[in-house]
Each structure stands twice: as C-alpha cells, then as structure tokens.
Amino acid sequence: MKDIVGPAAKLGGKMVKGVKSFDAEAAAEAMNDINGVPDKYVKLFPKGTEHGAIADSEAKPAIWEDFPKFETTANKLKDASAKAASAAAEGEAAFATAFKDMTSVCKECHESFREKE
C-alpha cells in the first residue's frame, strides 16, 4: 500500500513543486489511487497483531489502543485525497492547496501511529 501512496504522492508533489509540469488528469489519477487505500489501512491491524507481534512492524501501540481515532484519521485521508482529485480539474493552484492539506493528514497519521526514530 505504501507502494501505491508513496509514488502517487511523489508524482503530485513534483507537480506542486514545479519539477514536473502540471497535468490535471495524471494528478487526479494519482489522488484517486491514494483514495482507495485508507479502506485497506483499517483492515491491516486486527486484534492479535498488536505491537511487537510482528517483527519489523512500525505500527505504534496507539493503533490498537485508540482504534476509532486511527479509523477517523484514515478517513481524513480518504476525504483529503478525494478533494485533491477533484481540485486537479480546477487547475494548478487549487490542486496545490488541496495537495498540501492532504499531506498534512499524512503527517498527522504518521506522527500518531507510526514509530520512527
């Protein structure tokens, strides 16, 4: 799933940074790819896979301790990516704003739920 979100975010980011010229269709497609992922995120961490049960997992205990919050945050990504996808049709500036809003959700979720040194 990271294999979907990472490259799609990178493509969108390149357009926002102006490294790649803005392409409304490609941008919308990338955001739609991201949009399909949150539904999968929330199925990834069933009971019994708690922190430590899986070696090399970067999942924080907070996922299991406060699953509703995890679900809410995952759904924020769904909303934000849908907004970014439709903003692409409105042009570069609208897309850039929506894209930044979306990446702030990435940050919020990673900080709360992913362990990283």
Binding site: A9, G18, V19, H51, T103, E117
Partner: protein
C-alpha cells in the same frame, strides 16, 4: 618516606592549582558591550521559534519525558533529558523572580547565551546549546530577552540535574568552555550572498542544527570534520541523518526539496520525517519562505561528507537484533542501541 609524601602533596597541590586555573570562570561580556537597541518583541518571538526554545523549556504535558507540551509560552521547565551523562532537568526560564529568570538583566541573559554562564559566574551545562547560540547577534538576543519577559511568570522549582561523576562537578565544565565557547557572534562571509549568510546564521546560530546532526568526541565536543554528517541520537536509540550534500547524505535533494521539507515535513519521496525532527520542522514552517530558502541554500553549500555513523555498522546491529526478534524478542528490535 616523608620526602615521598611531601612530593605527593606538592603534586596534588599543583594539580589543584592547574584545575583551578583551567576552570576559572570565563571572561563575560560587560553591560557596556550591549549596543543601543530598542527591543523588537516580534523579532524576539521569531528568534524564539527559530531557536526551538519551547521544545525544551515548555512544561511537558504529563511525564517529564513527554515530548509534547500544552503550549509554547509556559516556560517553567521540568522536562527531563536522559543522556549518557545522566539526567538533565530543564530549568524554568519564565520571568518568575524566585524560580525562573525574572531577576536576570539583559546582560545576564546575553552571557548565558554567549558564554554559557549563569549570573555570578557558574557554568551552565552544554545540554543547553549555547555552543550554537553564542553566534547570535546582540540585537537578536536583546529582542529574545524582551519576548521572554513578555511571557507568563510561573513558579516552578525544578530539581537539580542527576549526573554521574565527574560530570556532576560544574566547575569542571570550565575545560569544555575553554575548548568550545568564545562568545563570538556570527561573522558574515563577504564573498557569499546575503541569502547564504542569512542561512548560515540561522543554521549555526539560533537553529543549532549542528548540535544533533554532528557527532561528538569523548568530551562531548562536536567533531568539526564530521559536522552535519549525522550522529547517534543524543538520547539513545537510532541515529540522526547526514544532511551534507553527499551520496550518504542528501546530495540528490534540491534546494527546493530541503525548503519543502522544512515547510511541510515531507521528504522528496513523500515520506514523513521522524519524531524528534517533527517539532523542529514545525518551527521552521513558521519562518518566512525566504528564511527557509536561505537555510536550504546554506545546507546545500556544506562540504559533502560520508556518514559519521557508518550505515553498514548500523545494519550489522540490525541484523543481530533482527535474529533475536525472530526468537520472540521485544519490539525494540528495530531500534538497536547505538554504542555510547
């Protein structure tokens, strides 16, 4: 026998005298060194953000090692930093006259920032990054002091540091200060652009980036040849990345990539940066876009260096610990302790 004893005594006295001389309180700035300057509180707040003062001095939410704080203006201290030297208890720098720094004059504050000494000459520990703050200009320090004075005074007595021998002998810090502190303000390079100089000032002065991104010698001093080339984490597990423009570092990042990371927390691959950099990045996000760009330009101009903490070494440790993890070890397996 008596002669031998006398010789020993003489040696001990000589040693004590040398220690005394080497650790004498440093020359500090006299009040007359301060320029005539009307404090600019807005700039003081800006420097406060650039310097990340709240990240250590704001009251932690619950426990003393809680990374989060309720706000960035209640600077009553109480955070604890667990380091190889022992536990530092971060002091109260609110303007409370009894337990904070409400009685400090502007020159007292300047001398703490530039010389690492408290009023009346006692040395401060370099967990407080005056090794970098000393490069700040008098004007910025006067502004910062004015901003601190405008914040709420909070009574909170912070416990003394709990350090092992010999680090608990404050006077011994005189040696460290002799080696690493001179109180000299940043001097712009006349051949460099205004942007590069601004970036250099922010990075090496208030931003104190080198304090975490550089490795240290046994005395705890920054090793100049490996500056910005990464380091073990100051508080234990993991490592701090190499930010020089080399293959090991971030040589493939553009200036815009660096500025974008400081603004948003996203790497060029759209990964999200780690926990201890997150509050720093959030501060950087509040600076002007021009300042973030200046920081990026300066970082990009650093000499490229290989990793100071070899990746292969870290990987070996990962492998060893990884083996342990398979046999049902704890969840720390992916965070090997970095040797001290």
């Amino acid at each position: 026998m008596r002669r031998a004893l006398l010789a020993l005594l003489a040696l001990a006295v000589a040693g004590a005298v040398v220690f005394y001389l080497l650790t004498m309180p440093p020359a500090t700035e006299p009040a007359s060194a301060l320029p005539v300057h009307t404090p600019d509180i807005a700039n003081g707040k800006y420097m406060f953000t650039a310097g990340g003062c709240a990240e250590c001095h704001a009251v932690p939410v619950k426990k003393c090692d809680d990374l989060k704080a309720n706000d960035k203006v209640t600077l009553a201290g109480g955070r604890c930093l667990k380091t190889p030297y022992g536990i530092f208890h971060v002091p109260n720098i609110s303007p409370d006259k009894e337990t904070g720094i409400g009685n400090w004059t502007t020159i007292d504050f300047v001398n703490a920032m530039k010389h690492g000494v408290a009023p009346y000459g006692s040395y401060l520990y370099p967990a407080f990054p005056f090794g970098s703050y000393q490069r700040m200009s008098f004007e910025d320090l006067i502004d910062l002091k004015a901003y601190l004075d405008s914040l709420p005074a909070v009574k909170n007595e912070v416990p003394p540091h709990e350090l092992g021998f010999p680090f608990n002998i404050r006077r011994g810090l005189g040696l460290w200060h002799k080696l690493y502190v001179n109180g000299e303000s940043f001097v712009p390079d006349p051949h460099a652009s205004a942007e590069l100089n601004r970036g250099a000032y922010l990075v090496t002065g208030p931003g104190h980036c080198t304090e975490c991104h550089s490795s240290r010698n046994l005395l705890g001093g920054i090793v100049k040849d490996t500056e910005f080339a990464g380091a073990p984490k100051p508080e234990g597990k993991g490592s701090v990345p190499n930010i020089t423009p080399s293959d090991d570092g971030i040589g493939d990042w553009s200036e815009d990539d660096i500025a974008y990371l400081l603004e948003t927390g996203n790497t060029p691959d759209f990964d999200v940066i780690g926990e201890s950099m997150a509050p720093v990045q959030e501060n950087m996000a509040q600076l002007t876009a021009a300042d973030r760009k200046a920081i990026a330009a300066y970082i990009k101009s650093l000499p490229p260096r290989p990793d100071a903490v070899p990746k292969s070494k870290q990987k070996d440790e990962d492998d060893e610990e990884g083996g342990a993890a398979k046999s049902g070890s704890d969840s720390d397996a992916k965070h090997p302790d970095v040797p001290q």
